[in-house]
Symmetry: C2
Subunit: 196 residues, 2 copies
DNA sequence: TTGAAACACGAGCAGTCGCTCGCATTCTAC
DNA sequence: GTAGAATGCGAGCGACTGCTCGTGTTTCAA
């Protein structure tokens, strides 16, 4: 790691904020490093002082995103295994939606079906983390389920989030609670027969 | 409309095929018009003889996609309203999956959460067509449902397809039937309590 | 106080992209 | 057979991208 001054750390945070905003507005590919630098009130050269390339910025955002997800979800306690399904779904869906609403850029970056070849690593890290989380909860609830079936269920569950969360994030604020309720309906309908 | 020779019509079809392949491989933005022309075995100038710009090619693909969806689904007959839910879901999900498997490029183009500003029109056309289809089926089955609730249900259903179909398309051929079954489970679990 | 390291600038490089244009070739109506 | 439209070529333009580099400024340990 390089030596950093306090000013440098501040700049890096500003650049991350600017990048998140620009990515949210125009997507990863259309976002230009010059635009990100300008948004942060900084020259292109300064941006490259801290991030070696465009992908490194996305990587930093992925790290930040995972950190927020982790802290929002809290520790994975064994008690989750015996919670009523409704409550379990509340505990999973609530933080997931909240974090994504608070970070409208992340869905544009890591919720994509096609990966622009770069971004592959950060995207996979985010997906792997979410997948692992879901898989662990399923394993705690249904230890008897074959691993292959469990993985398939976790994958489908992740895609359900991936399909519905962006819709919720981009919806009017007033419509959001109703859509969150629909998300929970979907999860209950799918997971009920499996881990009910 | 411009006057076209048979050769021109053939070229246009070849360019569409090439574009579908290139879009499927690298996505819309990363696809270059020169690459599409080369794939079709023609010069860039020839491509622009038939399509005014990159978006026009995507538009042509959207039209072709909608045509395939329409013919795969057949006419919307009133009988669908009284089919058992399981069978209704088979009739909806089967063709949807089949068309997308046959056209791996379309999910990369029209299944995206973020629209690259261009592409907005073709994407909206595809979404509107699918939405209208689902909404019509829901209306036939549950005429008593308020339009707002019906629209929300249709939107969620569309997003479920949007989340799961790309997964099915990109899965190994052997794993596909199991994933299609999961898709149907999801749809039954969600739609059962509503239009069951 | 001072000097080396960290920070900051911004014109501009090398490369790529969507697209153009002048011109050659092929088709078709008459 | 021939005029004119349709088709085809491909070098290359203008714009823009991610990124660099020479140079100047700020910070801070000694």
């Amino acid at each position: 790691m390089v030596r950093r001054q306090a000013r440098g750390e501040r700049r890096m945070a500003e650049l991350q904020d600017a990048a998140a905003a620009v990515f949210a507005e125009v997507g990863y590919e259309a976002a230009t490093t010059n635009a990100i630098a300008a948004r942060a009130g900084v020259s292109p050269g300064t941006l490259y002082q801290f991030y070696g390339n465009k992908e490194a910025i996305a990587q930093a955002l992925a790290d930040r995103y995972l950190e927020q997800l982790r802290s929002a979800h809290g520790a994975l306690t064994p008690e989750l295994a015996h919670l009523p399904l409704d409550e379990l779904i509340d505990r999973m869906a609530g933080p997931m939606v909240a974090v994504n609403v608070a970070n409208p850029g992340f869905k544009a970056l890591f919720g994509r079906a096609d990966m622009p070849e770069q971004l592959a690593a950060p995207t996979r890290a985010v997906h792997a983390a979410v997948f692992g989380r879901i898989d662990a909860v399923l394993a705690a609830r249904r230890p008897d389920l074959p691993a292959a079936d469990r993985a398939r269920t976790a994958q489908v569950t992740m895609r359900l989030f991936g399909g519905l969360v962006p819709m919720i994030v981009s919806a009017d604020e007033g419509e959001r609670p109703a859509l969150v309720e629909e998300l929970k309906k979907v999860l209950r309908g799918y997971l009920g027969p499996i881990v009910g």
